[in-house]
Point group: C3
Chain length 181, copies 3
C-alpha cells in the first residue's frame, strides 16, 4: 500500500479529533491531544498487542508531524469558517476504513491467524475514535446503536480483506461513508 494513504488516514483522524474538541471548552493543547490520540491511538494499541516495539509512530515520527500539522490547520480553519457537522462523520468513516485495512494487513504480515487479523483491523480502525470519545467523557460514538452499520462495515471489510488478501473493494468503503449520519 502506498505510504501516502497511511498518512492521509492519520490526517483525517487528526481532523476528526480536533472537530470533536469543539463544544468541550478545550484549548489548543486539548485539541492536539484529541487529534493525536485519534490518529495514532488505534495503531498504538495494535502494536502493543502484537508486540511490535517501539510502536509505529516512534519508528516513523512523520506520522506525528502529519497529524499535528493537520490538527493545527483544522483548529485555525474551525475558528474562522464553519465546519459542517457531517464532516466529523465522514472523516471518521474514511479513517476507520483505511486503518482497518492497514491493521489487518500488518497483523497478517506478522503471521497472525485470520480471527486475530480481523480483530486487529477493527481495533486499529475504531480504537482511536473510542479513546477520543473517552477523553471527551462521552460514550464512544462507534458503540452506539444509531451507527450500527458503521463498524459492521469495517469488520466486513477486514474479513473480506483477509479472505481475498487483496485490495479492499473501493465500493465497500464508499458504501459506509454514505451511511455515516
Amino acid at each position: 500500500m502506498p505510504p501516502w494513504i497511511e498518512y492521509s488516514a492519520c490526517a483525517v483522524c487528526a481532523i476528526s479529533g480536533v472537530l470533536a474538541a469543539e463544544g468541550k471548552r478545550m484549548d489548543l493543547f486539548g485539541a492536539l491531544v484529541l487529534a493525536l490520540v485519534t490518529a495514532v491511538g488505534g495503531g498504538t494499541i495494535r502494536d502493543l498487542c502484537l508486540g511490535v516495539r517501539p510502536v509505529f509512530w516512534i519508528q516513523t515520527p512523520d506520522f506525528v508531524s502529519t497529524a499535528l500539522v493537520a490538527a493545527v490547520v483544522t483548529f485555525v480553519v474551525a475558528r474562522f469558517g464553519d465546519i459542517p457537522n457531517r464532516a466529523l462523520a465522514i472523516a471518521d468513516a474514511f479513517g476507520l476504513a483505511l486503518f482497518a485495512i492497514i491493521g489487518t494487513e500488518k497483523a497478517l504480515l506478522l503471521g497472525s491467524p485470520g480471527l486475530v487479523a480481523v480483530l486487529m483491523g477493527i481495533v486499529t480502525g475504531v480504537a482511536g475514535g473510542i479513546l477520543r470519545d473517552v477523553l471527551r467523557s462521552e460514550i464512544p460514538w462507534v458503540l452506539r446503536a444509531e451507527v450500527e452499520l458503521y463498524a459492521t462495515a469495517a469488520g466486513m471489510g477486514a474479513t473480506t480483506f483477509v479472505l481475498l488478501r487483496q485490495w479492499f473493494p473501493p465500493s465497500e468503503s464508499h458504501r459506509y461513508i454514505g451511511m455515516g449520519v
Copy 2:
C-alpha cells in the same frame, strides 16, 4: 490450573460486559466490544506491563472465540428473557476471583516479587471491568464506596495465594460473591 477455568472466567466476564451494555443504547457491536474488553482487558494490561508479547489472546485466540460466543448467547437471551440485576454482580465477582488468581500465578511464574504479583492479580481481576465502565462513561463500579469488600477480597485472595502458592480457598471466593450487592 486446568484450562477450562480460564475459559470460564473469560466467558463470565464477557457475559457481564453484555449485561453492562443494557440501557446504554448500544447495538450488538457495542455489546461485543464491551464483552471483549471485560473478558480480555485485564489480562492484556497484565501482559503488556509484564512484557509478555504478543498478549495472551493473540497466542491463544480461543479466548476471543469463547468470549464472543458467550457474548452473543447472552445478547440473544437478554432480548427474550429477563436477566436479574444480581446476575451482573455475580458474574463480575466470579470473573474477578478467577482472574485475580490467574494473574498472580502468571506474574509469579515470570519471577515477579510478591508485591508485583499481588498487584498483577488485582489488575487482571479488576482492569477489565474498569475498562468496561470507562467505555460506558461511568465511574468504575469496583472503585465505588458501596462495593468496598469486593476488591479487598480479591487483594486478600491474591495475597493469600502468594503466601500459600496453592489453590485459592473456595470459601473465600464464595464469601465475596455473596457480598456483591
Copy 3:
C-alpha cells in the same frame, strides 16, 4: 538525576490521585487505584510505547510502595484535616514538571529523535492525570481551556530540555505552579 526526585514525583502524583477521589464516593481501594494510576500511569504508557519491558515499576517496585504509602497517609490526613483545594493543583504541577523531564530524558537515552522525546516527556507528565480523570468520569483537567498554560509549560520545559540537554531551569517550574488555578 538523583533517584529521590523521581520518588518525590511519584509521591506527589499519588497525593493528587487521592485528593481527586474526594467527592466521588470512593472508598480506600478506589483512592489507592487513582493514586497508583496517577503516579505510574504516565511512565507506564511511556515505557510501553518505547518498548521498555517490563515497565519501570515492575523493575523497581519501590515506586509502587512509595506511591501507596503517600496515598494512605494522604487518605488518613484528608479524613481529619482539611486539605485546601489549591493542593491538588500544586501537587499536579510538581508531578507534571518532574515527570516531563524524566520522560524526556529516558526517551533521549533510548535514542529517540527530539520530537519523540518531547512527546514522551509530555505523555509521562500528563497521562497519569488524564487516566485519573478518565476513571473519575470527568473531562481531563489538563485538556480544559482554563488551564491552557499548564501543559504548554510542560511542553516548553521538555523542548528546552531537549535543546539544552541539561537541568530544567527551576524558574520555569515555579512559574507554572503559580499559574495552577
